[in-house]
C-alpha cells in the first residue's frame, strides 16, 4: 500500500478553494459515501481532487464504511432523514428504490451517455424499468491458477474463452492437483475468494440453466429448488464432500502461499497479487462451464438521494465520477471498464489477460437478482451453501430455503 497525497494536503486544498470563493459565491457541500477499502479510497480521493479543481464552488465530504456494515449505515441514515447526497449503491438498489429513497436519474442521462454503457452495467441500477444509478465500473470473476503447479503437472493452461474447462474436466484437474498427507490436505485443488457467497455460486447454477428466482422476482419455489438447481448444487457439494478438492473453511492467503491450485476470484485480485506477491507466478483462466458459460457481473453504481438539497450539483459529481473520469478510475482502481468507448479506445482490454474478463463480461455475464429482499436472498444462499458444503441433503435444504424465500419475497416486494 503506497502513500497517497496526505489528507492534510487535500484538506488544505479544499479549504483554500473555499476561502477564495466563499465571498464571491455560495458554497455547496455534498456528502458522498462509499464502501471502505484503503486502495479504493485513495483512488477516489484523486478523482475528487480533480473534481474540486473543475468545480470550485462545490465541496465534497467523502466517507467510507466497512462493506459489512455499509448498507446498514445507509439505511439508518435514510431512516433518520439524513442520507448522503451521493453514494455507492449495488444490487440492493431495489430495496432502497422501493422505499422512494433514490432519485430517478433518467432526466440527467443523455442518450449518448446511456448508449456508451455496456448492457451489463444497466441491470443492477434499474428497478421497475427506471434508472436509479450510474455504474462506475464493472467487476467479474475468473479463475487464477498457480502457474508452477500446472507446469509441473504438465497441464495446459487455457487462455481463450472457447478453451474453458467443462465441469468434468475441471474436477479432474482439481483432483489431480490436490495433495494430501494422511488426514491433512497440503494443497487444495480449488478455492474461492468470495467463499460460499451468492456472487461465486449463482453463476454455477446459471451454468446449468437454473435461475434462483422467477423472472418477475416474486417466487422462489420451483426455481430455487428446480431439478437443474438441485443438480448444480449437488455437483458443488461433491467438490467439498466427495472429491474433497475445496476446503469448507476459507484458507487465508492460501493461493499465493501455494496451498490452493485454482482460485476463483474477481478481476481486481490481479492488482492484489501483483502488488503484494510480485514474485508469485500465476495465470488467468476463463471460468469453467456446463450447459453454458456464466460468470457473475456487478459493481458499484452511484446513486443520488431523493432528499438531496442539491440534485444538480450531485449529478455533476456523479457524472464526473462515472463518465468524465471513468478512464482514470478504472486505471487506478483495477476494476473493469463499463463504457464501450473506453473498451474500444484501449487495446489493453482486448489483450491477455484482460480479455478473459472483458469477453466473459460481454458473453457470459449473469446478475444477482435485483430484488428488494436482496439481503434475505443473500443470507439464504449463504446458509444453503454452508449446509451443502457440510454434506446435508441438497433437495431438502433447497426446499426449505425456497419456502422461506417465498415468504420474504412476498413481504419484501413492497
Amino acid at each position: 500500500m503506497t502513500l497517497r497525497p496526505p489528507s492534510g494536503v487535500l484538506a488544505a486544498l479544499i479549504f483554500f478553494l473555499a476561502l477564495q470563493t466563499a465571498s464571491a459565491q455560495q458554497k455547496i457541500t455534498l456528502r458522498f459515501w462509499m464502501s471502505a477499502d484503503p486502495a479504493l479510497e485513495a483512488a477516489m480521493d484523486a478523482l475528487l481532487q480533480e473534481y474540486a479543481k473543475a468545480n470550485p464552488t462545490i465541496a465534497v465530504q467523502r466517507d467510507a464504511f466497512p462493506f459489512n456494515e455499509y448498507h446498514q449505515k445507509l439505511a439508518t441514515a435514510f431512516a433518520a432523514g439524513e442520507p448522503p447526497d451521493a453514494f455507492w449503491m449495488d444490487v440492493r438498489t431495489a430495496a432502497f428504490a422501493a422505499q422512494g429513497s433514490l432519485l430517478v436519474l433518467e432526466r440527467y442521462l443523455t442518450p449518448q451517455n446511456k448508449e456508451d454503457i455496456i448492457a451489463s452495467g444497466l441491470i443492477e441500477p434499474v428497478w421497475k424499468g427506471r434508472l436509479y444509478g450510474v455504474p462506475m465500473h464493472e467487476l467479474t470473476e475468473g479463475l487464477f491458477v498457480n502457474r508452477t503447479m500446472f507446469e509441473e503437472a504438465g497441464i495446459k493452461i487455457p487462455q481463450r474463452l472457447n478453451e474453458a474447462w467443462t465441469w468434468d474436466q475441471f474436477v479432474e484437474i482439481a483432483k489431480q492437483l490436490t495433495k494430501r498427507t494422511g488426514d491433512r490436505t497440503d494443497v487444495w485443488g480449488f478455492g474461492v475468494l468470495r467463499h460460499l457467497s451468492d456472487w461465486s455460486i449463482l453463476p454455477i447454477l446459471e451454468q446449468n440453466n437454473a435461475t434462483p428466482l422467477s423472472p418477475d422476482l416474486k417466487k422462489a419455489t420451483g426455481y430455487f429448488n428446480s431439478t437443474a438447481a438441485v443438480e448444480a448444487w449437488r455437483w458443488y457439494q461433491d467438490l467439498f464432500v466427495k472429491h474433497k478438492v475445496i476446503s469448507v473453511d476459507p484458507i487465508p492467503e492460501g493461493f499465493p502461499a501455494g496451498k490452493i491450485a485454482i482460485f476463483q476470484a474477481p478481476s481486481t485480485y490481479r492488482a492484489v497479487l501483483d502488488k503484494r506477491y510480485p514474485d508469485f507466478k500465476y495465470a488467468v483462466v476463463p471460468m469453467f462451464k456446463a450447459k453454458r458459460c456464466a460468470v457473475t457481473a456487478g459493481g458499484w453504481n452511484v446513486s443520488i438521494a431523493t432528499r438531496t438539497k442539491n440534485p444538480d450539483a450531485a449529478w455533476s459529481l456523479v457524472d464526473s465520477l462515472t463518465r468524465v473520469q471513468h478512464a482514470a478510475w478504472v486505471r487506478t482502481s483495477g476494476y473493469l471498464p463499463v463504457r464501450k468507448s473506453l473498451l474500444q479506445r484501449e487495446p489493453t482490454y482486448r489483450q491477455y489477460p484482460w480479455n478473459i474478463f472483458t469477453e466473459q463480461l460481454q458473453q457470459c455475464a449473469v446478475h444477482r437478482p435485483p430484488t428488494a429482499a436482496y439481503n434475505f436472498l443473500f443470507d439464504t444462499v449463504l446458509a444453503v451453501a454452508k449446509d451443502v458444503a457440510v454434506g446435508r441433503d441438497v433437495q431438502k435444504v433447497l426446499d426449505d430455503a425456497a419456502v422461506r424465500l417465498d415468504g420474504a419475497l412476498a413481504r419484501g416486494g413492497r
Partner: protein, 282 residues
C-alpha cells in the same frame, strides 16, 4: 430533597437513554415499521404471532438456551476450579491471576477476530492438533462443533472475572471453620461440600445470574465469526433480531422479538434468584 439532588443526573440519563427508547421500541413492535419507509401501519399483535410461528426464531431461541446453559455450567465450574487452584498458597499468585484476567479486559472484537483465525482450518488450533498427531477439526465449520467452539472462546475470555469472585468468596471463609472441622475428623471432601460450597452460595449466585444474562445477549462473536451458521447452528436471538432490523429493515418484527427476549431473561433471572436464595452464615 437532598436525595433528588444526588439522583437527578443519573435519573435523567436513565430516563432519556434507557427508559424512553425502551418505550419507543415497545410501541414500534406493534407496527409494521420498515426502516426505509416513513409509513407505519399498526398491526397489533401480528409481529408477536409471527415470532411464535417463525422456525428461525425457534431455532435461535433453542440455540441461545443451549449456549447459555453450556456456558454457565462450564464457566462456573472452571471459575471455581481455578479459584481453588489459586487458593493453594501459590507463589506468584498475582502473575497467574493476571494471566487469566487479561482476556477479560481485551475487547470482544479483538478476541473474536483472533479466535476466528485460531479456529480456521489452517489456524493455530489445528496446527497444534496436527503437531500432537491428532486429526484436524472443522470447529466453526461444523454444525456440531460451532456452538461449543464459541462457548470455549467465551470461557477463555471471561472465566478470569468469575474466578476473582470465587477467590474472594473463598478468602472470606474463616480458616477456623476448616480447622475445627479437621479436629472433628471431617475429610477434605466433606469439608469442601459442607463448608466451602454452602458459604460460596452468594458468590455462586452472582456468577450464575450475571453469567446467564450476559450469555443470553451474545452477539459479537456470532456476527464476526459465524454469521449464525453453519446450518443455523449458531443462530442466536440477538443476532437474529439485529439481522431482522439492520439487514432486512423490519424494525417492528425485530422489536417484538426483543421484547420476547426481554421477558425470557426476566423470568430466568427471577427463577435463579428464587432457587439460589439463601443467607448462610455460620
Amino acid at each position: 430533597m437532598t436525595a433528588a439532588g444526588f439522583l437527578l443526573p443519573a435519573a435523567v440519563g436513565i430516563c432519556l437513554f434507557s427508559i424512553l427508547p425502551i418505550a419507543q421500541a415497545l410501541r414500534i413492535s406493534f407496527f409494521d415499521y420498515s426502516l426505509l419507509s416513513p409509513q407505519q401501519t399498526a398491526t397489533g399483535l401480528e409481529n408477536y404471532e409471527r415470532a411464535w410461528a417463525d422456525p428461525v426464531f425457534q431455532i435461535a431461541l433453542r440455540n441461545t438456551l443451549l449456549y447459555t446453559g453450556l456456558l454457565v455450567c462450564v464457566q462456573t465450574g472452571a471459575a471455581l476450579a481455578l479459584a481453588l487452584l489459586l487458593k493453594q498458597r501459590v507463589a506468584g499468585l498475582a502473575f497467574f491471576r493476571s494471566a487469566f484476567f487479561v482476556p477479560v479486559v481485551t475487547s470482544l472484537v479483538v478476541v473474536s477476530t483472533v479466535w476466528k483465525l485460531m479456529y480456521n482450518s489452517q489456524g493455530f488450533l489445528n496446527g497444534l492438533l496436527s503437531t500432537l498427531g491428532l486429526s484436524p477439526q472443522p470447529f466453526l465449520a461444523s454444525t456440531t462443533q460451532a456452538l461449543p467452539s464459541l462457548v470455549v472462546m467465551s470461557v477463555w475470555k471471561d472465566v478470569g472475572f468469575y474466578m476473582l469472585i470465587f477467590l474472594a468468596g473463598l478468602q472470606a471463609i474463616s480458616v477456623e471453620l476448616y480447622e475445627s472441622a479437621a479436629i472433628d475428623g471431617t475429610t477434605r471432601w466433606q469439608s469442601f461440600t459442607r463448608i466451602t460450597l454452602p458459604l460460596l452460595r452468594r458468590a455462586a449466585v452472582f456468577v450464575v445470574v450475571v453469567g446467564t444474562i450476559s450469555a443470553f445477549k451474545i452477539f459479537t462473536p456470532v456476527y464476526l465469526m459465524t454469521d449464525g451458521g453453519p446450518a443455523d447452528s449458531t443462530m442466536v436471538l440477538v443476532f437474529y433480531i439485529f439481522r431482522t432490523a439492520f439487514r432486512y429493515f423490519e424494525m417492528g418484527y425485530a422489536s417484538a422479538m426483543s421484547f420476547i427476549l426481554l421477558a425470557i431473561v426476566l423470568v430466568l433471572t427471577l427463577v435463579q434468584f428464587r432457587l439460589l436464595r439463601t443467607t448462610v452464615e455460620y
